[in-house]
């Protein structure tokens, strides 16, 4: 009798300590059989060059001593995450994952579930032997009820240890998987069915059709403390009633191969095309006194965009500038504030602790920040704000009916434009009106219909500001 040459595997298996054809697995272990089925299918389908196998943690961590293809070791349970990435990078690769029950069903189950749900292009070979083999016989998610293991010494009790996990059935709830089957390697007829399943999973990868999942019921005689025959019987007699064999899903005929990647522009082209926000380079001007400005109000009042607008004007004027917002839950809670610094030199800290100028669009922000304004500084508040908190001595307070004006002009989101006009009229930003207006226009780049209205609002607010400045001898100090 001549033995058929094994294909898809290396000539000798050095893992077992010497150049030999015997594996490092125990006698009667299912891994060797499954390794061979995978190797054969890879070879017969001509996929060895394209194949990348991601190995598990456990006895079969050394799969790469057997499979003659590219091999990758992933952390325990993380093969689906690593495989997802390989999938993005190497669309022509035939990707296979080899994972045990602890790896796939316990520590990495969410990764498996999510990769299956995304329909990643991978063949997943799930080795279910109902135990933790290499670690020394602890409970697996698939350990049967009542069975004793090192960590269920009194038998697996569903009340405390839960029930055996039916991975195929869980994955079968998902939309994306193309093929799901449970097989066994306990005897020859079963191995022949498993062989067909492995081949199909690789065909799906060859054709770029998506996610294929095969669960193998596999004997582990060493942790079962029995011989090879008894371990195989355990798979058939005990495991199969809990984990019935069969194909749960096969959409491989109808599945469509994935489309090639679309051609796209280069990074350079992309950013040059969207050349909005261009501004001349800032110039050092030691004579320019640095301005710290704080903008505050409710979210939706345009406080953050007003800050950006002023910063943009600073950029147009070749000033150095920084913008820093409140963010996170503070913002979600309804309050909005940002700090803008305008300088003639490189800016140190972008945080404004004591502003030269404070723009307040609501009561709470006035109450919170008024006391922080520097002596000689300016506060601009919306006319709806009650000035019952005293501003520090030497601080000028101006009112601006920004909200009223925005309502009058029919654009309630433009209250910030009134504030911008006030800043321009008072000259407290050190920036020219020309640049502030240009920045205002540019903020409506995508809504040109609002540009004119906002310019009109800006003018009207300036007229109001001029009137107020006339009578500002009686500055509002309460």
């Amino acid at each position: 009798m001549t033995l058929k040459k094994t294909v898809g595997m290396y000539e000798s298996f050095i893992r077992s300590g010497r150049a030999t054809r015997s594996t490092h697995y125990c006698a009667g272990c299912g891994h060797g059989i499954i390794h061979k089925l995978i190797a054969e299918a890879m070879h017969e389908l001509g996929l060895q060059d394209r194949a990348i196998i991601i190995g598990p943690i456990g006895c079969s961590v050394f799969g790469y001593y057997y499979w003659d293809c590219a091999n990758l070791s992933a952390a325990h349970g993380r093969a689906p995450a690593a495989g997802t990435a390989v999938n993005r990078l190497r669309r022509d690769a035939a990707l296979a994952l080899y994972q045990g029950d602890g790896d796939l069903g316990a520590i990495g189950f969410n990764h498996t579930f999510q990769a299956a749900s995304r329909g990643e292009h991978m063949a997943v070979f799930f080795i279910n032997n109902a135990t933790y083999g290499m670690t020394g016989g602890q409970m697996a998610p698939t350990t049967l009820i009542g069975d004793r293991t090192m960590t269920t010494p009194y038998g697996r009790d569903p009340l405390t240890d839960g029930y055996p996990l039916h991975v195929c059935e869980v994955l079968n709830q998902l939309k994306a998987p193309v093929y799901i089957e449970r097989v066994s390697v306990a005897d020859t007829p079963r191995i022949m069915r498993a062989r067909r399943a492995v081949r199909k999973a690789f065909e799906i990868q060859r054709d770029g059709k998506g996610y294929a999942f095969i669960e193998f019921l596999s004997p582990c005689p060493t942790t079962l403390s029995c011989d090879a025959v008894q371990a195989a019987r355990f798979c058939i007699d005990r495991m199969e009633p809990e984990f019935p064999l069969g194909c749960l899903r096969d959409n491989s005929a109808a599945a469509v191969s994935r489309a090639p990647r679309k051609k796209s522009v280069s990074v350079d082209e992309f950013f040059k095309r969207s050349d909005s926000g261009q501004a001349p380079t800032a110039e050092v001007d030691r004579g320019f006194a640095e301005r710290h400005i704080k903008f505050a109000g409710f979210g939706g009042q345009g406080v953050l965009s007003l800050g950006i607008c002023v910063a943009e004007a600073a950029r147009l004027e070749r000033r150095f500038t920084t913008w820093f917002p409140t963010y996170g839950p503070e913002q979600r809670g309804g309050a909005a504030a940002c700090s803008v610094i305008i300088s003639g030199a490189q800016i140190g800290s972008p945080v404004v602790d004591s502003p030269h100028v404070l723009v307040c669009m609501n009561q709470p922000s006035y109450e919170r920040f008024a006391a922080t304004v520097r002596s000689g500084g300016t506060i601009i508040v919306d006319s709806t704000v009650q000035l019952d908190v005293k501003a520090p001595d030497g601080v000028n307070v101006f009112r601006m009916p920004a909200i009223d004006l925005s309502l009058k002009f029919g654009c309630p989101k433009s209250a910030n434009t009134g504030m911008l006009a006030a800043l321009a009229r008072l000259g407290v930003t050190g920036l020219s009106e020309e640049h502030l207006l240009a920045a205002l226009d540019s903020s409506f780049r995508r809504k040109p219909e609002l540009m004119e209205t906002n310019r009109m609002l800006f003018r009207e607010a300036q007229i109001w500001m001029d009137k107020q400045k006339e009578c500002s001898k009686e500055r509002l100090k309460t």
Binding site: R50, R78, V86, L89, K262, G277, R315, P329, P350
Partner: protein, 351 residues
């Protein structure tokens, strides 16, 4: 060409110009804008973006992408960074390149989303298991958020170890003018070691297992030699340190607060400078010794003293000097004010 962008957005601009193929990430404040920018810009230029199921997945995806020979990155903040330590250790063990951006927030635990620098030791000393080092860069401006992302890819591939960019919520959220990189960088050739799914790379294997203790030790010794060789890539910035009586030592956003304080003190006639490491690993210890030698020093940081502890250690190990700088720090998302630095600096100068 310039753009007015958030630090978080600048990271993605840098990544794209570095040739980054794929971004994996899970949303977390204050780093989420990095994912937002990646989701928008990566597909627009034919690259991949994927929102992972968790940070453990993100980092293992970076691991997988690197194994496939790609330039990959992820970004997160403290809690997510803790989850990523497993994958970072595996990348270091398997000698895979990739970039991780940490927009630090206040901890421990859930903490809050405001800026802190409390992940210093986790990143610089190695937060995962085993003896390994990452490249760690510390940007302090929106421009550097972009430039250092590019540098992170470069150094990560040069040394075949993960590169971490250690920024914070303030740098991530603030906007500044960014000058875009002049051109996209060429891709490194990875065919000698990566898995491309081709005949040429069929024999390649990527793993971090060395079952035999002696072989694992050999691997460790080789890694340590490699890390020692990174020393030439240490970078720093010494601002007005030459004639200084007092040197403020700070990295990242704290260095800008220190710089503001130094400018004010200089205007008052005091001789004050700022020493800032641009790379935290490798650490510019020789330059630090030169800048601090015989001078008063004050460390400014947004953490409990983790950075100062390292400054003391680096001084001692590089030049045998036991220098214990004063410490000006805040935690919990409270940012050190320029005034706080000024007060401590003036007190030190008077002494």
């Amino acid at each position: 060409m310039t753009k007015f962008v958030k630090g978080n957005e600048a990271v993605i601009i840098g990544a794209l110009y570095a040739g980054c193929d794929v971004y994996f990430g899970y949303p977390i404040t204050p780093a989420s804008e990095i994912a937002h920018a990646a989701a928008k810009w990566f597909p627009a230029v034919g690259r991949d973006f994927l929102q992972a199921e968790c940070e453990t997945a993100s980092i293992n995806m970076v691991y997988g992408a690197a194994a496939a020979g790609g330039l990959a990155m992820t970004a997160t903040s403290g809690p997510g960074m803790s989850l990523m330590q497993e994958g970072i250790s595996y990348m270091a063990g398997a000698e895979l390149p990739g970039v991780i951006v940490n927009i630090m927030r206040a901890g421990p635990g859930l903490g809050n989303v405001y800026p802190e620098q409390g992940d210093y030791s986790q990143s610089v000393k190695g937060g995962g298991h085993g003896n390994y080092s990452c490249v760690v860069l510390a940007p302090a401006s929106v421009q550097e958020m972009c430039d250092m992302t590019m540098r992170a890819f470069e150094l990560s591939f040069k040394h075949m170890t993960p590169a971490i960019m250690l920024a914070d919520g303030l740098l991530g959220q603030m906007m500044e003018t960014l000058t875009l990189p002049d051109r996209e960088r060429p891709k490194p050739d990875t065919s000698a070691w990566a898995l491309h799914g081709t005949a040429a790379t069929r024999q390649n294997l990527i793993t971090s297992i060395y079952l035999d203790a002696a072989t694992q030790e050999e691997h460790n010794l080789r890694l340590q030699a490699k890390y020692a060789g990174m020393r030439d890539d240490a970078r720093h910035e010494a601002y007005l340190c030459g004639d200084a009586d007092l040197v403020l030592v700070a990295y990242g956003i704290s260095s800008r607060i220190a710089r503001s304080a130094a400018d004010i003190l200089r205007a008052e006639g005091a001789k004050v400078g700022v020493f800032r490491p641009l790379t935290l690993s490798p650490f510019p210890e020789k330059a630090l010794c030169g800048a601090l030698d015989g001078r008063k020093s004050l460390v400014v940081e947004l953490s409990a003293g983790q950075f100062r502890e390292d400054v003391i250690f680096r001084m001692a190990s590089a030049c045998g000097h036991c220098v214990i700088p004063a410490l000006c720090n805040r935690m919990g998302g409270v940012i050190v004010t320029v005034n706080e630095v000024l007060e401590q600096a003036r007190a030190l100068l008077r002494r």
